[in-house]
Subunit: 289 residues, 2 copies
């Protein structure tokens, strides 16, 4: 009897003292939820204060980096990880001749001009050395001091070769009047340069959200060395015409300079983590097309 | 007349000496293509020699990294870049209260038990400091010497706070018998530990391609400090019950240990660059479901 009274007293205490009355919720839960939602929305601005974007100066101060005095850092650990990734990439490229099929599609794509016969890959070497990164240093961006960029020296001594075989078709004055066999082999034997990496943010506008992208480019004093062999004609083959080597080399250099050499840069869009209604819509519309 | 004869001689020379006869292609171009395709397929294996996967030893030798003697490297430049990314992430999280909406969805998701009322976020601080990485070193993986891993020390002293308000509903013996208001605020004030990162490859099997993933985990001697405040009951609020703090802290620690602390690790699948027919199929089937 004594135990029961203790339990009853304890229950009464808990019921009326600690717990609040359940009635308040059961009366009109939806109205209550609605009110709470409204209250929540009003309060949201105070829950999470929106501070201005942090300037580069504060970021440098909070990471204890002084751009004036900090010595360049070595990147030996990064070289090992990049080498592992590249080694993995090469295995993937070699398995099932993936890279040959991909190259075949690219070389014989829609843009193949009518005077060119099918292009065959005769030689392919994707190399076995790895890029060596060194002397990494952070600087404020020259054309936008609010941005920070990392400058890294890159060096690659390898032999990356692509050899192709094709035939030039002379279609004038009559179709297939003559055929000129051409063999070409291009090797990249050395690349060194200064890589600049930075994060770029475009502020949100009326028709787009804020976008973050990783940009990279090479300084204009890069060094790119080729070894080019050419073989033209069928009966007495003309070997290693210097004109053809120069033409191919200048085309590759132009292609590279137009894409990756300062003031031009490559921009890789980084996906925003926050799911956005607009992105969903775009995905749906592209799926229907 | 002399000029014309020179042109004719030159044309004849080029036509018969350098160019081959167009007839060979026009006779049966498809048959020729087919033969060439067959020849190409036979030759593919010789064009691109498939070398065995490069062992960790060779990768270390080619990147000039001696695991025995190499000193740990500083990562100050990485700290700056990570800080920029985190700062960007925080801006994204704050804009349009993205993080509040996401948290609201997670906290009030399908798994909300019946004895819990709607959870409201009352306090949120996503911090303003940045993680500091240091002393990076490459080691061979302990349980797989063929793999390499990078070990990095991480330190974060910040105040990352989440405060919530909810009500425990006592539905027994009758529904909504009583309601117990609960307020809880959890802050992470310090984290330090050793991060291990590595690339892991699963060899290709009959029903799956080779898969590469980035794994990361923390050493068991990590340090994680909390500050937890609780507020239970309605009339005489019981503040900072040590039992509740301990319960919450042990739950968070358990969550973390079960996911990221050695021998457990997180694995992020890396996409293969080579387009594969199987991947396409999977994408189609999931789209139809």
């Amino acid at each position: 009897m004594g135990q029961l009274s203790v339990v009853i007293i304890l229950f009464t205490f808990i019921r009326f003292f600690i717990f609040s009355n359940g009635g308040s919720l059961s009366e009109s839960p939806h109205q209550g939820d609605y009110d709470k939602d409204k209250r929540l929305r009003k309060k949201q601005s105070s829950i999470l204060r929106s501070s201005p974007p942090m300037p580069a100066r504060s970021i440098l101060a909070r990471t204890y980096y002084n751009v004036e005095t900090h010595p360049p850092e070595s990147l030996d650990w990064l070289n090992v990880l990049v080498a592992q990734t590249v080694s993995q990439f090469r295995e993937d490229a070699r398995s099932n001749n993936n890279i040959l099929h991909t190259l075949d599609k690219i070389l014989n794509g829609d843009s193949l001009p009518s005077f060119l016969d099918t292009v065959h890959v005769t030689e392919l070497d994707i190399g076995e050395e790895f890029p060596i990164f060194s002397n990494c240093k952070v600087f404020p961006c020259e054309d936008d001091p609010g941005r920070l960029e990392a400058r890294i020296e890159v060096d690659l001594a390898d032999s990356i070769t692509l050899g192709i075989d094709t035939r030039l078709l002379l279609n004038y004055p009559t179709p297939l009047l003559a055929i000129l066999p051409v063999s070409l082999s291009v090797s990249i034997v050395r690349f060194s340069g200064q890589l600049t990496m930075s994060l770029k943010t475009t502020p949100p506008s009326s028709n787009s959200d804020r976008k973050t992208s990783l940009t990279f480019s090479f300084a204009p004093d890069y060094r790119l060395e080729f070894s080019i062999r050419s073989l033209v004609g069928s009966r007495s083959r003309l070997q290693n015409l210097p004109k053809i080597s120069q033409l191919v080399e200048s085309q590759i250099r132009k292609w590279f300079v137009e894409r990756c050499v300062q003031p031009r840069f490559q921009e890789i869009q980084l996906a925003s983590i926050w799911p956005r209604r607009k992105n969903t819509r775009e995905a749906f519309s592209s799926r229907n097309n």
